[in-house]
């Protein structure tokens, strides 16, 4: 029986984030939290392997207590066990410290395959997956679009800009999933019931994760945020409302002025 670990992150739905038009700052209130889409594709891939070949699927998340919600969602979709890595000591971590912490936690679990999403929509770095693989000492295949288990290996179709590689990677290994991989299933009512009534989320705090103090949290992060600021938008230009013919003439004139044509 295969053991699969899926790493998932709870993220704000950045498609719902709006800027305050007066101050240019983010309006964070009321932004819903979701399971990161690439991670969900990784979870679905794991569940399909479970459906087909049998597997124990364990989901792991690092975050505040509220991240319990995405782990319950994963349980309701069909994951078997859930672990929440949660402690103030882990807070403020960059991708290096995040990957070192999650890798140390994942090492406590048996695994043949670790799935992560390619990237999280609130950070977009795509770094934690490959960095975790390095900390775990296993090969990684990023940007997976198709996955098959064949014997002791995975056959993965890996996306590049203008081509695909089909690769064979021996387990244990780490795969970063793209949303293109599949269409994740919905939670079932029975699954939701089980996730909240019968299954549990194991919380791992600082002492439960065997990792050096120097490799976690803000202190263990090689990179620091020096400052953050709202993006300066380009100044507004001219906007005209005319009849269609006049608008076409207006654009034609501008293109000539700017020597485009």
């Amino acid at each position: 029986m295969l053991n699969i670990v899926v790493c998932i992150k709870q993220v704000p739905d950045t498609n719902e984030v709006r800027l305050d038009p007066k101050t240019g700052t983010l309006i964070r209130e009321g932004v819903p939290s979701i399971m990161n889409p690439d991670d969900k594709a990784g979870l679905e891939a794991a569940l399909r392997i479970k459906d087909e070949l049998g597997a124990v699927v364990r989901v792991v998340s690092m975050g505040p207590a509220q991240a319990d919600a995405v782990l319950r969602e994963a349980l309701a979709m069909g994951a078997d066990e859930a672990y929440l890595i949660s402690d103030r000591a882990f807070g403020g971590a960059d991708t290096w410290a995040t990957s070192s912490t999650i890798a140390a936690a994942v090492k406590k679990l048996p695994f043949d395959i670790v799935f992560t999403g390619r990237q999280a929509i609130d950070g977009d770095t795509a770094q934690v997956g490959p960095q975790m693989a390095e900390h775990l000492g296993v090969p990684n295949v990023s940007y997976a679009e198709e996955i098959r288990v064949v014997g002791d290996s995975l056959i993965v179709k890996r996306q590049f800009e203008s081509s695909y590689q089909v690769v064979r990677v021996k387990m244990p290994c780490l795969v970063t999933a793209l949303t293109e991989l599949n269409r994740p299933r919905y939670m079932t009512p029975g699954g939701i019931f089980e996730a909240y009534r019968e299954k549990k989320v194991t919380v791992w705090t600082r002492p439960d994760v065997p990792v050096d103090d120097g490799n976690i949290g803000l202190k263990g992060s090689p990179t620091r945020v020096k400052e953050s600021f709202p993006k300066a938008l380009k100044g507004k230009g001219e906007v005209v409302t005319l009849d269609a013919e006049a608008e076409a003439d207006y654009l034609l004139e501008k293109l000539r002025e700017k020597f485009v044509i």
Partner: protein, 337 residues
């Protein structure tokens, strides 16, 4: 503050596939030249592959002072582990102060693996890189939170300082024919281990010729196009202007355009001379990928669409009428000439 005086030079990972150097590598060399001049140091291009020595000339012409050459059969095709070993070897031996990678699917796979191995920081998808005058540190600015915020990142206590940059964000230096780099072959032993994978097949994507990040003129369509058939008028306009067609995420998700044509946070970053946004309302994620375009024209029927906030010239109207008329007028004008 830690002492890093032995770390010197700005290094660029050169991405070559089948003997062709990715344009982003030249763009990074252009940026590296600026950084190196602020630091009074040199630019070294790290060229990995098999039988790729001849590419060193081109790197010199685009501004590399040195080319560190790793020529090894294990580096023929990109695979994470042998390339990570190669970059680890270069960093361990040469001790660069800064290492830059293209934020391509290769760079975004390799750089994090290397950062974990050498234990240093890595900042993804930087849109601005500069040297802090007082400290000589690299200031790495990137969009955060889905492009809603910008953050400036530093890596104070570890070296090298490493960053990835998306294609199309930095500008190539002017090519100087005949300018030569000092080629330094680096014999580093790539060790086979259990982290190696096996490439079974390479499949080319069908429409590889279309790289929108290279186009000078882009005509992009969004949700407002309404159908795949309507994209035809964008191709007509693009043809008349000698440009290419691009699309917003909404149009790609609707199946009207190929994923390769997608501009934005989850697509490509473009900075053409002219960007015409047709039926694109202007989600932050889209604008993050095109706002650096030189001239932006927006055609949208909703006068409150955010795209008008960054457009140089906007028209509020029916794209189904305006676009074909504009195409006709451009054609007529060109026929006169």
């Amino acid at each position: 503050m830690k002492e890093f005086s032995e770390y010197k030079g700005v290094y660029v990972f050169v991405q070559q596939v089948e003997g062709v150097i990715a344009p982003v590598s030249f763009e990074l060399i252009g940026k590296a030249k600026e950084l190196a001049s602020s630091l009074n140091t040199s630019v070294s291009a790290v060229l990995c592959g098999c039988g790729v020595k001849a590419l060193a000339d081109e790197l010199g012409e685009y501004g590399a002072d040195n080319v560190v050459l790793l020529d090894d059969p294990e580096l023929r095709d990109y695979m994470t582990e042998p390339y990570a070993q190669a970059m680890y070897g270069v960093i361990d031996y040469f001790k660069p102060e800064i290492v830059l990678y293209g934020a391509t699917t290769i760079g975004r796979d390799l750089a994090p693996r290397v950062s974990a191995r050498v234990h240093t920081g890595l900042t993804a998808d930087c849109t601005k890189l500069e040297i802090e005058k007082e400290t000589g540190r690299l200031l790495m600015t990137r969009p955060a939170f889905g492009g809603n915020l910008m953050a400036t990142i530093v890596c104070p206590d570890f070296r090298p300082q490493m960053a990835t940059v998306r294609p199309g964000v930095m500008q190539k230096a002017e090519r100087v024919p005949g300018r030569r780099a000092n080629v330094m072959p680096f014999n580093y032993k790539i060790e086979r281990n259990d982290r190696f994978i096996e490439i079974l097949d390479v499949i080319k994507k069908m429409n590889e010729a279309v790289d929108i990040s290279e186009a000078k003129i882009l005509v992009a369509g969004g949700r407002g196009m309404g159908s795949k058939e309507n994209f035809k008028m964008l191709y007509d306009l693009a043809d008349a202007l000698g440009g290419r067609v691009a699309a917003s995420r909404a149009a790609v998700d609707a199946g009207w355009a190929d994923k390769e044509l997608q501009v934005g946070q989850t697509g490509k970053t473009v900075r053409p001379k002219l960007y015409i946004a047709v039926g694109i309302s202007g989600a932050i994620q889209h604008m993050a990928g095109m706002e650096e375009s030189e001239i932006i024209i927006a055609i949208n029927r909703d006068e409150t669409a955010p795209i008008f906030n960054i457009a140089d010239y906007g028209v509020v109207g029916d794209l189904n009428k305006v676009v074909p008329m504009l195409t006709e007028k451009i054609r007529a004008l060109k026929n006169e000439d």
